[in-house]
């Protein structure tokens, strides 16, 4: 699979939130205003891109030689948890303003399904290190795209008359459902039409 095909696949065709349902909790929880949504999106993209490569390395350089493939879940979650902690410390030291903006989202990322999901999907798809990096990046960008769109919808919804029973969470789900319908327009034929497969 070429790099461009991977990017298109994970940003649009297999968008993690709207097609694969990974990372729904932060998608619903942190999308109330667009500023937070951008912060969360950037933090997730940063972490998915790095963890994809490191998890790839751990799997192929550590688990495969010792025939410990069945420990992948355990190994990956430890890599992710420690990496998130490390990134948090690094940003805190290097760039306090960035830490101030992203700080509260970083601990949440450990339990974000997108991060562990893409690491496991990279292994299933037998991607190499470069492909893993770009699929991680694309997964993060797809998440960012969806959460920013969603936050804008929800900001506008504040001024619209919504039936009382649907206020808050339910209407967010209905709008996410309509967004997912729109995303169905992107499918595998996009790749064949662009001669990428």
């Amino acid at each position: 699979m070429s790099i461009l095909a991977i990017l298109l696949t994970y940003i649009f065709i297999n968008n993690f939130i709207l097609v694969q349902f990974l990372g729904l909790c932060p998608f619903i929880g942190v999308s109330k205003n667009s500023e937070n949504a951008i912060g969360m999106g950037v933090a997730v993209t940063f972490v998915t891109a790095i963890t994809s490569v490191i998890c790839w390395a751990v799997y192929h350089l550590l688990l495969v030689p010792f025939h410990l493939e069945y420990l992948e879940t355990l190994a990956f979650i430890l890599v992710i948890a420690s990496l998130v902690q490390f990134v948090e410390m690094f940003i805190k030291k290097m760039s306090p303003p960035l830490y101030k903006a992203l700080g509260i989202y970083l601990p949440l990322i450990t339990t974000n399904c997108v991060v562990l999901g893409i690491a496991l999907i990279n292994i299933t798809n037998q991607f190499n290190a470069l492909q893993s990096f770009f699929s991680g990046l694309a997964a993060g960008l797809g998440f960012t795209l969806a959460i920013i769109l969603m936050s804008n919808i929800r900001e506008r919804m504040d001024y619209k008359p919504v039936p009382k029973a649907f206020k808050g969470m339910p209407i967010a789900f209905v709008s996410a459902g309509l967004m997912a319908l729109a995303f169905m327009a992107f499918d595998k034929s996009l790749l064949t039409n662009l001669h990428l497969v």
């Binding site: 990974l22 909790c25 069945y70 879940t73 979650i77």
Partner: protein
């Protein structure tokens, strides 16, 4: 008597009052991801129940030993060890369910319900209460998954897929819906829309029950 009632409360709160999906709104990813067939929904619910039950017991038993500063990594290691166990078990004995659940099975590790219960309940309460809490929450989750997957499969495909036995493939066909299924229900969009409509319904039921 009041002691007994308290234990019962820990068990029953998972169904309505603190329903994991509709009230606490945690662990949505697997709930929506695997609920295209009833058998997958039940399988996912029971796997999560297993992990939740043992993680709650273990964490509750070790709550005085685990240092506070590293409690989250410690919980995650316990949970992922349990998930690895169930992954290997399922791969060996239920290979079809294993492939149907796919990436969502290892993702039980990051299911917010399990870590959430460990953090909010098992780290503060005794073993018996934690076990009951896990049973209630796990069965509540299984109930939600069964309802959601039943609606999605009946309307989306016109079938009800249960577990296959020796002389029955485990699929019930519903005559008319079978020929004219509402395809969107099996897709991502249908699941999200359905959640949007189940939410108010569920809260109405809870409100009615509480006003009684």
């Amino acid at each position: 008597m009041s002691e007994k009632k308290n234990h019962l409360m820990e068990f029953t709160k998972g169904f309505l009052k603190e329903n994991p999906t509709f009230v606490v709104v945690l662990g949505l990813c697997p709930t929506l991801g695997v609920s295209t067939q009833v058998a997958n929904g039940i399988g996912m619910g029971l796997s999560a129940l297993f992990v939740l039950f043992f993680s709650n017991i273990l964490i509750s038993a070790m709550r005085k030993v685990i240092p506070d500063s590293i409690h989250i990594p410690a919980y995650i290691v316990i949970i992922s060890a349990l998930v690895t166990l169930i992954q290997m078990f399922m791969q060996a004995y239920l290979p079809s369910l294993y492939s149907a659940l796919g990436v969502y099975l290892p993702l039980i590790v990051v299911n917010c319900i399990i870590l959430g219960r460990a953090e909010a309940f098992a780290s503060k309460n005794g073993i018996l209460d934690s076990a009951l809490d896990a049973l209630g929450m796990g069965l509540g989750l299984t109930m939600n998954l069964t309802i959601i997957s039943l609606i999605r499969e009946v309307f989306g495909a016109g079938t009800i897929t249960l577990f296959a036995t020796k002389n029955w493939d485990g699929v019930i066909h519903i005559p008319v819906l079978n020929q004219y299924p509402v395809r969107v229900m099996t897709l991502a969009a249908g699941a999200l829309l359905l959640m949007g409509y189940l939410f108010p319904l569920f809260h109405k039921i809870i409100a009615k029950k509480e006003s009684k």
